[in-house]
Amino acid sequence: MRERLRPLSFLGPPTAVLAFFFLAPMVVMLVIALQYGVLSGGSGWTLTNFGNVLGDSLYRDVALTTFQIATAAMIIQLAIAVPLAYVLAYKAGRFELGLLLFLVLADELNPMVRIYAWRMLLGREGLINTALMEIGLINVPIDALLFSKFAVIVVLSTSYLTYTVIPIYAAMKAIDRNLFEAARDLGAGWFTTARRVLLPLIAPGVFVALLLVYIPLFTDFASPALVGGTEGYMLGNVVNDLVLESGDLNGGAAMSMLMLGASALFAIVAYRLTKIRQLES
């Protein structure tokens, strides 16, 4: 009998907190998305909120912008993260731990402080523009640096880099290094080794990085709100404006549910793709 009770005593309180403050809010948000007004109003079920959000051409443009920004930031991060993880895992030697610590530190630093720091650098009277004018490279400040898609991409790329590098680094650490020697002995050049040995083996790490980074990139709203201007307006800002500016909880809930659904779909597809890749190799 006592043995029976044990899982409950360890897992009871944490699971109860998740059920009440994670699952219940999600269910309430879904119900609100499917109704007019408040829950107790009992307006009956409707798909109008989803229809409004999906039918609005403005939101479709914003969705496209969001996709462009998130994808650009993701590609930039992967382009940095794969070689960086390689250097960390195989080349850094005694600097390996220290560099890892710096990556962790980069994540621990407050994101709002980082956004503010970039805003300071990129502004019209910001340090990059004033410095470039000082040395005479440009005569008029470059306006496109701040309040643009470019600014959002720069800020987002630096905000999530830790979470892109570490899973890929972890996957590389797990590779048996004899495989590289074997590939070389069998006459494979570095490109073939990278494509046929390294890439398939780090695919699960890349998948984890995509889950941890690509999905949050789609829902970010602090960076576009502070450095995006009108050009860098993203879906996260739509949710914020619906919920807090126009007080349209139903619309905001519908938009949130759509973004959540899209994230889940992406996660499942990415997961399946990795499975297939693993089976093939």
């Binding site: 309180p13 219940a24 809010p25 250097v87 610590l101 829902t219 502070l226 949130s256």
Partner: protein, 290 residues
């Protein structure tokens, strides 16, 4: 053919990549930390606008920041919430990790899935859902609602990190302790706790940072209460860049750097006591994401 190209290839492989590695690492460090260093530098500039030329050294902005009630309240709020959230997260996280990795019972998969799913739901959605939930319940938003929603996203992270630690070490030690007459509690206290101490220390520093740095959830579930990130956000939304924000941000960044290095030393110490080497330390960083 292969024989004639290989030596050149090998020489290139040795020389050029080394320079490329150094350049890559330097680039990443500059991009990640450069802006924050410049921010810190301009908190000492004797000018109310943040731009060149340099007007001289001053600590006035720190004095002004200290006297700014909003700034102080926001930082204190963040500290209090993050401390509470970290403590409860460690207790919940360690208990849940133990239950999920060591006990067999029906519904284990579902509960593990529930804990895992929190980590992949974007914070914006959790914040918005929290706001709607509390307003439907008629609960007014406060520091407490921020803290409970922080707890929801933070302790599953502790579960992930501590579970990775528990999976690594051998169960036979626990069984040996029981065989030698230790009670369940003694076994947890003297065998398991020292083993997972480095994981707990790492989880603690991450949990604190997740709560302290959290913007989206605090923004939506805090009502009129402000945490440090929400304060910075609202200032930057209303006005141009302010040296006052530089000063507060610099203090926060310095404390965070000291905290991370301190925690790193602590974890190293805890690991050394167990006779671990560098391999296990890197495992700690990578364990949770695997």
């Amino acid at each position: 053919m292969a024989g004639s190209t290989r030596p050149i290839g090998q020489r290139l492989r040795r020389g050029a990549p080394r320079a490329a590695s150094v350049a890559l690492v330097a680039f990443v460090l500059v991009v990640l930390f450069g802006p924050v260093l410049v921010l810190a530098l301009f908190s000492f500039n004797d000018s109310s606008i943040i731009s060149l030329p340099w007007e001289g050294f001053t600590t006035d902005w720190y004095v002004e920041a200290w006297g700014n009630d909003q700034a102080r309240d926001a930082v204190v709020n963040s500290l209090v919430i993050a401390t509470g959230v970290t403590i409860v997260s460690l207790v919940f996280g360690a208990a849940a990790a133990w239950g999920l990795t060591r006990l067999r019972f029906r519904g284990r998969g579902a509960i593990a899935g529930l804990h895992g799913s929190v980590l992949v739901v974007p914070w914006l959605m959790i914040g918005v859902a929290g706001l709607i939930f509390f307003s439907e319940l008629g609960v007014s938003l406060s520091l407490e609602t921020i803290a409970i929603m922080h707890l929801v996203v933070t302790f599953p992270l502790v579960v992930a990190i501590v579970s990775a630690g528990l999976v690594r070490f051998q169960r036979s030690l626990e069984e040996a302790a029981i065989d030698l007459g230790a009670s369940q509690l003694q076994m947890l206290r003297y065998v398991v706790l020292p083993q997972i101490a480095p994981s707990l220390a790492a989880a603690g520093i991450f949990a604190f940072a997740w709560s302290f740095n959290n913007f989206e959830i605090s923004f939506f579930t805090g009502g009129f209460e402000q945490t440090f990130p929400v304060w910075v956000f609202s200032i930057l939304r209303q006005s141009e860049n302010l040296p006052l924000v530089n000063a507060v941000s610099t203090v926060i960044a310095v404390v965070q750097i000291v905290a991370v290095f301190g925690a790193w030393r602590l974890i190293k110490m805890l690991s050394h006591r167990r006779g671990d080497d560098k391999g296990q330390l890197t495992d700690l960083v990578t364990g949770a994401v695997r």
